[in-house]
Assembly symmetry: C2
Homo-oligomer: 479 residues x 2
């Protein structure tokens, strides 16, 4: 809820709330029969006392606009409009029959981040303001009077695809032509298109355990059976893919080979080659997710699976979100022409392509002679954040928290040396104004959490870790 009552106004808070709810009911935003938020939810959202909400509800109830249903809560009265309206669309039923929603903890995370400016956010994989090249971006004029702002080529602006093709070649040794690249709304949409168009309900696939994919409801929304491929300190055992294939006939494997989210693991070249061989042998499609393989802090170079694949078994997915800014919403998929053609057709059906403006901006930025300098600064900046996060966690929690030091990327995957009450720790952290990703949303093993240090300004990291440590201590006391 975006609206908040204004505390200084002459009209008492509860009256403001009444008139707000009334107008929403009359606008059809809360249709007859629909449920209103609970007193507690509403008090939280409007940042008022629960008693204020209670008074407002009681007044609304006395006018007959809403009613109280045991076991349900406050609902908009159906009979206000006369009995013949009882057959209004049953929105609750519509909504419940729909998609799988996000993990409740993830929903909470998004909600908290949206409601609060002061929360320190170690939960979302994006770049902090001090890593985004704002000066560069501000100096880019996306277009001029000659530009065309009609529908862009659905596959993506050609100049942008050229820049991305060059970028992949220069930074990742991936050879491609522009025709085999589809621009998407971040890597997210690329994955969504792959799942929706190349798999069908009942198909089996493998995802990493732990992995970011583990947290994504889109697989189950599409009726896909996900099988877990262990990701450990040694990376992935390629033979596990064979086993999953023989047992479940998996059709795809989703792999994040470099600085994996969340473990930070890099598969070694032998593992990568073996994975490609096995998938080629069994006809398993590899979906390679590569959001930040170029963000290594050492001089080691990390090959993409795609760079090792000449037979078109890899669908390569990446984005500019962690390279420039996630607000651009520029990602892409590169793969066999037949797949790109199909996904382009579907993208036309579902959203008619990406906005032309961020595409023009991204093109200019990728082609700027300051791009390479930006990348160097970005990597240095991430290393500083990693070092600081690690130093503070070690200093404050010592052996209570364990991790492998990631050599690149944006995540720190931590394990507690003992059992923790995850939900309690999460709640205490939120109370303290800091948020992280609970481990159970990312994998099957308990007592883990992910700190995504990329999203926090460096001068806020100490504050953030301090808040977390306090939450940790109070959760420990309470449990």
């Amino acid at each position: 809820m975006d609206w908040k009552p204004i505390k200084t106004k002459q009209l008492p808070l509860y009256k403001q709330i009444i008139s707000y709810l009334e107008s929403r009911i009359l606008n059809g935003e809360y249709p007859p029969g629909s449920r209103l938020p609970s007193e507690r939810q509403l008090a939280n959202q409007l940042k008022v006392n629960r008693s204020t909400v209670k008074i407002a509800f009681e007044e609304l109830q006395s006018t007959g606009l809403i009613t109280s249903v045991i076991g349900v809560g406050r609902v908009v009265n159906e009979s206000v409009y006369g009995n013949h309206l009882k057959r209004l669309p049953n929105w609750d039923k519509y909504v419940k029959e729909g998609h799988k929603t996000n993990h409740p903890l993830n929903q909470q995370i998004y909600q908290y981040i949206r409601c609060s400016n002061s929360i320190i956010n170690f939960a979302i994989g994006e770049l902090s303001p001090d890593l985004i090249p704002m000066e560069l971006l501000c100096n880019i004029n996306p277009f001029d009077m000659e530009s065309h702002l009609g529908y862009e080529n659905i596959q993506g602006n050609l100049a942008l695809r050229e820049s991305i093709s060059s970028y992949m070649k220069e930074y990742k040794s991936i050879k491609s032509t522009t025709s085999s690249i589809l621009i998407t709304s971040g890597a997210h949409q690329a994955l969504h298109l792959i799942i929706r168009c190349l798999l069908k309900s009942g198909d089996s696939i493998a995802i990493g355990d732990p992995s970011y994919d583990y947290s994504m409801p889109i697989f189950h929304s599409a009726g896909i059976n996900t099988h877990l491929l262990p990701v450990g300190n040694e990376g992935i055992n390629p033979e596990d893919i064979t086993t999953l294939y023989k047992k479940h006939r998996i059709k795809m494997v989703f792999i994040h080979p470099n600085y994996q989210d969340p473990t930070g693991i890099v598969l070694d070249l032998e593992q990568k080659k073996a994975i490609i061989n096995i998938c080629t042998k069994y006809g398993i499609v590899i979906v390679e997710e590569d959001p930040y393989s170029i963000m290594g802090y050492t001089s080691k170079s990390n090959s993409a699976l795609k760079a090792l694949d000449s037979k078109g078994v890899v669908l390569y997915v990446s984005s500019l979100s962690n390279l420039i800014a996630s607000g651009l919403r520029i990602g892409w998929i590169s793969g066999p022409q037949a797949v790109i053609d199909l996904l382009t057709d579907v993208k036309q059906q579902i959203d008619f392509g990406q906005s032309v403006i961020p595409q023009l901006m991204a093109t200019k930025l990728l082609n700027s002679n300051q791009f390479n300098e930006h990348i160097n600064n970005l990597i240095k900046g991430l290393e500083i954040k990693r070092d600081l996060t690690i130093k503070l966690l070690k200093r404050e929690l010592g052996e209570e928290i364990l991790f492998s030091v990631p050599e690149g990327g944006i995540h720190l995957w931590c394990k507690f040396s003992h059992e923790i009450n995850e939900l309690l720790l999460f709640k205490e952290s939120i109370k303290n104004g800091v948020v992280f990703t609970p481990g159970t949303t990312l994998g099957s093993k308990p007592n883990h959490l992910r700190f995504t240090y990329s999203g926090v300004n460096t001068n806020q990291i100490e504050n953030g870790i301090r808040r977390f440590v306090e939450a940790y201590k109070s959760a420990k006391k309470l449990s």
Copy 2:
């Protein structure tokens, strides 16, 4: 295919083509076993003679990289890499099992438009460069150093939702709060989200006949049964909805009440009220598509269904595509809170929200004190285009082509006074450098076509109609 051989280069064309195809095969863009484009397709795409492509294919075949399969065409050789690779992912199968693709004629339209700058395009519903407020847009700085370019609120930038809420109130008398608005990638994505999240396979709905919805494969991709609701010169007969409900238990009806696409029809107030009453009575959801209800050329005001609905039976879908520029990719849906919450969650899963940059630009434009002037210019500009199109068609074709004159919007729906060979007319038009929307893609009745005059610069309309008339005459001769 974006690449073209360069005719002046010392290397012969066929050798350039060989090395291009070789690299695409080795990149995995044409994996072993996959089909290459036909000689004719490739010659068309690369703009070379078919004999040149033939030579290139023969050379590639002699190296063993590709092979010729009777009834299939040229395919990449599977055995090049050894027999054990025969179990590579069968992309053809993947692709065929996927979504319903666009109508072949529509696919051709998109392809032609993409390949040719000189084609005059009466087929796509967007604004021509002379209607897009480029000067206004060029003067907008989307952001400054203080802006946040991380992930935007998935529901959409709050300031943009405020501007849209005010816009709906001022221009369409629709009352709403920002919380009940979700920003989408044009109206297209709003419809996609509704279909995917609120309906399930096997559900029945009603769409107009003719209507733009008729051309959209997303209904059938989702397994929805579409039933036709006749749209005639008198609009829609509300009782037809009752009939469809009793016969098929339709769950939703997709209605475009003002300046309908393609007929240009406006439902009168009595029809609108009756539709709302019937849908309220039977619990049928109304999806109101309203891309251009404010673009009336007369002083008549046209109510939105949403403005007449206080019970939340209407999901209102609109966009800035025909108001500012389709390249922005800004649309929205306004409806009951429970629906908006669900669709927001799903949007987060599938694309993580719209790019922040066009959202900031759209906000500034909607709030600009020149916005109203732009709208007035837009309406005047559209009226001029309509008048010119009608005048020329009447002058050139007289009674052979019939239409009702639309009082607003962007389309002219024409009927021939006699039988036409639609495919032939379409092909001849393409040859002549003009494209329109064939009537059978939009409705069940033959001998119609849609001219979308909004997308053509006024100084090109005469040229476009001339090209069309020539195509029409030559198609008549040939059939």
